[in-house]
Amino acid sequence: MDRFTNIKCMLILLCVSGLSLIFQNNLVASDEVPGKKQKHPIALVGGTIHPVSGETIENGTLLFVDGKITAIGASIVFPDSTEKIDVAGKHLYPGLIAANTRLGLVEVAAVRSTRDYAEVGEIKPNVRAESAINPDSELLPVTRANGITLAHTIPMGGLISGTSAVIELDGWTWEDLTLRGPIGLYVNWPNMGSNPGAAGSKKEKELLKKRDADILKIRTAFAQARAYLKAKDAEAGEKVPYHQTDIRWEAMAPVLNKEIPVLLRVSGLKEIQAAVDWAVSEDVYAVLMTGPDVRFATELLKEKNIPVIYMGTLTLPSRRWEPYDTPFTVPLELHRAGVKFCISGPGSPFDAAHERNLPYQAAMAAAFGLPKEEALKSLTLYPAQILGIADRVGSLEIGKDATLIVTDGDPLEIRTQVEREFIRGRKVQLSNRHTRLNEKYKTKYARMK
């Protein structure tokens, strides 16, 4: 096929698919250029360092080399060719981690062609989030402009939705972006039923029937995966034949081997109880992703040592009789009960564009009693620990990635501005679609004067 034919094909394609394709072409590529790989040591000098894992250091310096933090403190010896950046009066924090998002898998939630977060089917452990991340999504620079450097992106839909990945919000390709994957296997625990008023009704009976069928499907998937892996293991032995590949069960090996957790999406107390029982019976690691009802289950979670991704402080109480501030105070209750938790947004595809407001989810918990340090940890160190990436990120410590932000104040405050951002030592652009349009129209009005 010569070059001309190629162009002709493209033109035909454009005509056939009409306007929508043209529009999408407009919005696929963000104009921000990914940060350059760190070539020389960088020192951020004279700022207030909030390592999160330790005491705050006033007037401190943080040094990183080849993307890794190499020194933190008051008096640091700078290697040759260190680029010194004066951050006096500024604050240094680890980059924030969005622990529950569809970032990269969706652009405009209402437009079907931009949705890539839910594969068809009910049992699809084999699909993995990272391979479909759009590095040029306009949403990523918008999100990182407010200090969110990492996103835990999770596939959804069905009963077993697939495996998640943690991505850095900067890079040329999805491979560049992926910090680690798989992180966990997302399982939607069915609704356990018994809705008051519906009890005994036909609808409720159907729901319970579906619930039983769904739970059986989840159990069966785990049993079949175990059987498959056992059979494959046995192939090493004598007279055991080869077994054809099942990529679904292959994908579940890290879960069954307890290398990664099951991310258990559960809605209410009954679901929490049932899902925890199930996870214990399956002998897998579990991370609960849930809402305010988790406050009724703190003893159970503490006993079973199950951490929680608390999905949304900024939500309404589920029931009319509940105190108005119920969702705000749950993190405090988890903290008091000694349950390991982090705070995320609600994580729906529509929330992806608004992930930049993540810090205020934790701020509201702080406004309602959670110690501010805990609120900050619930966006940094705790999600890193729960997602199994604390060896790399989550705090400012020597040896960890230089993934951090420089602000003019407390990142929990809306009025605070993020002034600089580094992801694994790379200087990241903070401009985005919004700042570009802002500049463009500022020009319009400047010309009118």
Binding site: L27, V108, G197, K270, R320, Y324, A366, A367, L437, Y445
Partner: protein, 1035 residues
Amino acid sequence: MGIPSAAVEKAWKPVAELVEASSVTPKFGPFDKLRVQILRIFNSLGRVQSVLIVLLLLFLFPVPGSGQVRPVEGIRDNTPQIHALINGRIVQGPDRIIEKGVVVLRDGIIEAVGSKVELPADARIWDYSGLTLYPGFIESYSQAGLQKDAVKQGNDSVHWNQFVTPENNALKSLKIETKDVEKLRGLGFTSVVVVPVDGVFCGSSALLSLDGRSAKQSVLQTEVAQHILFKRPQTKVRSYPNSQMGVIALIRQTFLDANWYGKAHAAYAESPGVQKRPEINLSLKILASALQKKHAFTFKSDDDLNTLRSLKIIKEFGLSAWLIGSGHEYRQISRLKNTQVSIIIPLNFPEPPPVESPEDAIKVSQQQLNHWDAAPANAYHLHKAGIPFAFTSAELKNPADFRKNVIKTIQHGLPQNAALAALTMVPATILGMDEKLGSIDEGKLAHFLVTDGDIFKTKTAILSAWIDGNHFQISRKPEIDVRGNWAVEFAFPEKINSMKLKLSGEKKVTGVLTHDSLKIKLKKVVLDYQRLMMLVPGDSLGYQGIIRLSGKVEPGKLAGRGSLPDGQSFAWSASRQPESNTDTVNVEKKPNTSPPKNNLQIPIDAYSYHSTPEKMAVIHIKKGTIWTSGPQGILQNADVLIIDGKISRIGENLKTPAGAHVIDATGKHVTPGLIDAHSHAGISGGVNEGTQAVTAEVRIADVINPNDIAFYRQLAGGVTVINQLHGSANPIGGQNSVIKLRWGSDADGLRIKDAIEGIKFALGENVKQSNWGDKFTTRYPQTRMGVEQLIFDRFKAAQDYDLEWKTYNALIKKPGVIPPRRDLELDALVEILNGRRLVHSHSYRQDEILMLLRVAEYFGFTIGTFQHVLEGYKVAEAMAKHGAGASTFSDWWAYKFEVIDAIPFNGAIMHNAGVNVSFNSDSNELSRRMNLEAAKAVKYGGVSETDALNFVTINPARQLRIAHRVGSLEKGKDGDFAVWSGHPLSTLSHCEQTWIEGRKFFDTAKDREMQAAVKKERARLIQKILAADIEKAKN
């Protein structure tokens, strides 16, 4: 004058007999009076006239066997219809009891009733010794016998809307079956109103005797009332109306149309040659006639709020009406009391909510718990308030529960008399049939029940019903109650031959035989037709197998034969033994001695104030940081004085007036109450009337839900005013409502009376149904081009309509001229054109914003606000020049294609270009933290903190044209404010108090008290349910 013919003589002979034969003071029933009157007239007439009168009388008072149109098949039935029921206890009506009396019936009419009545010589005598007579119950709301296919088809001379079918008539679709009749009769009903229930205007009902004859014969009254279902019609296809406000708008417009229709046709009849013939519309014709003749209307609602809303319509159109209630009336007693409209209430008491497991109990709402507790006392509260009410068995899952539930209402405080009235006289009066039904009185129709005791005891059986003089057996004489202790004698060969027997149980009788320490549990006890059968395990008596006993039951005595396992027969008998004190068999629950209190207030649910918060005459806010949102800016360490709900002074170190309520604001910040210019909170029955492209006639104000917890939660975020908007499903949506969050007020009490009215418009993807799915591709408009044209054309229509009215109003002589038809949709648009209604237009893209500006400019009005207006930053100069406000999201974007260019700098850019900008929520969640939304104007675009707060205070107040009242802390304005724990733009602050006009509607301390109260009340009700469950299980 001449002697009447034989037929006439026979027809009125009973009248003479009644007058002469009755030993009690003669009373004339309505028929009798009429007959005597006719007789007098008859006597004064000539022969020709008298023949006519004879014919007339034949028509009015058919002689048995005559007047039947259908040919007689087989042999005639001429059994005399004269009955004398003697020796019964007669409950004529509430409080009117004849302990032992006589009722005489003749041809279906009560001829005499009294303790001393001479028995007519031709009467059949019924001895009712030991039995009680009650007036027959009236079921005033039923669908018995209605065929479902009553929907109008293919007739285009009726109303355009498929849900407006006043021409439907119960009689037309009635095919009453024996089983329907028997079911109702079994509950004690002797007459029934059959009501059509399809649509909104459902049609007219009929009152029937439950005598099981064809409708032709048993109808007592046709067109009893026109019935309106006050709820959203359930249909598969989306059609107007599909919201509660749409239903109300349709009802309102239809009444207007009916009135107009009558006038238009009258005018046309007067001068037909000079004007256009008005349309013929059967539906409107029927309604116009019903309105003119003051026929009754009924309104059926599914909840108490809709009941109140229907009362407003009744008042608005001056209707003669009654209500069909929901069982939630106890929540609105004071409001129902004021209107004194009669109400028919169902007895569908809720099942106990599932509270056995704590996990399930979490999900049970306070309202469910409350309603379970309060529903049985509903009738009591209505009675106490003097509101006329009747009971209906409609809505009962199991109609057999009807009498049981009536008894339950008595146990919950309703006096028996009132219960009886609610079943008889009250419905008779409501139906205008009080001269014929409702009590056992001379001249009334012979509708009554025969029972074996007090009808309000569960054990009492309704034995028979008399309906129009016909006798119907309902239940057999009940079995003699065998429960209790018996001494049994067996004629056994050689074995034990005397034992004690104890029979007990509720639904099923069980028995135990004892002899000294020997105890034998009977295998089976069956009682049927006064015979008892028992199976006794023979083993412990020395017999291998089962001994069978059977015998006749008589009061105090059992006797019969038994059969040993080997077949050998023997005699046995038993005599009743006195009950020991510990046996509590068959004890009716005593009526509750302390009737339930009705302490439920609006909002009816958790977090309710039991009265409106006390108004503080003087409030002194001391030493706070005061964000005035006014010319004074931010004042440090300043005071505010609020007197009688209005701001009186702002300054430093003000003197505390005597008796002032002092708020120590040291270290705190005080802001004006926040205003959310885009909310959908507190709207019942759908936010969108999204069926038609233009629905300017629907009104949010019709459907305000004062119980919405969103209001309280918003108060907890410092919000005091919200703009309740219609949704964005159509280019011209419904009318909005601006309210203050006076939690605890009813719908009217929330409204800001002097706020200029507004209306919702919408542009772009939503109105062209872009994201509605593939089925929605035909409604005009489907493009932004069409949106412009549609809006333009509607305004042109409004101008034409306005001109029509102006021309008509200018006429000096109006009679004979057809008036213009009042159109509520165009009324609203005319108001916009005249600057008396504000347009709040949902919008996103710059092209559509500019388009609407130009349309408005063409018609010479100013747009109130653009809502969302996420590309407002692209045409800010045009908006500023026009004077339109911008009520935008702080930072939403990318949720659909038309908002791909939305930026958080939007507010700042528009603000800097001179547009009045507010941030809104469009979300009950976001609305609780409007102060933090304002902070985003600082973050994105560097708006000053003072100006940023204005985005949620004075700016939205100006947009809603209520800035003369609220939005800033200035002398003379309403004392609406919030107290914050810290800087109001800080995420780490929270609202501590929220005040409106001198009343504190939110307070963190008070909230904690209420949280505790909610917890306590839930625990109490859950325990009560569990206790009731255990009680039920025992029985």
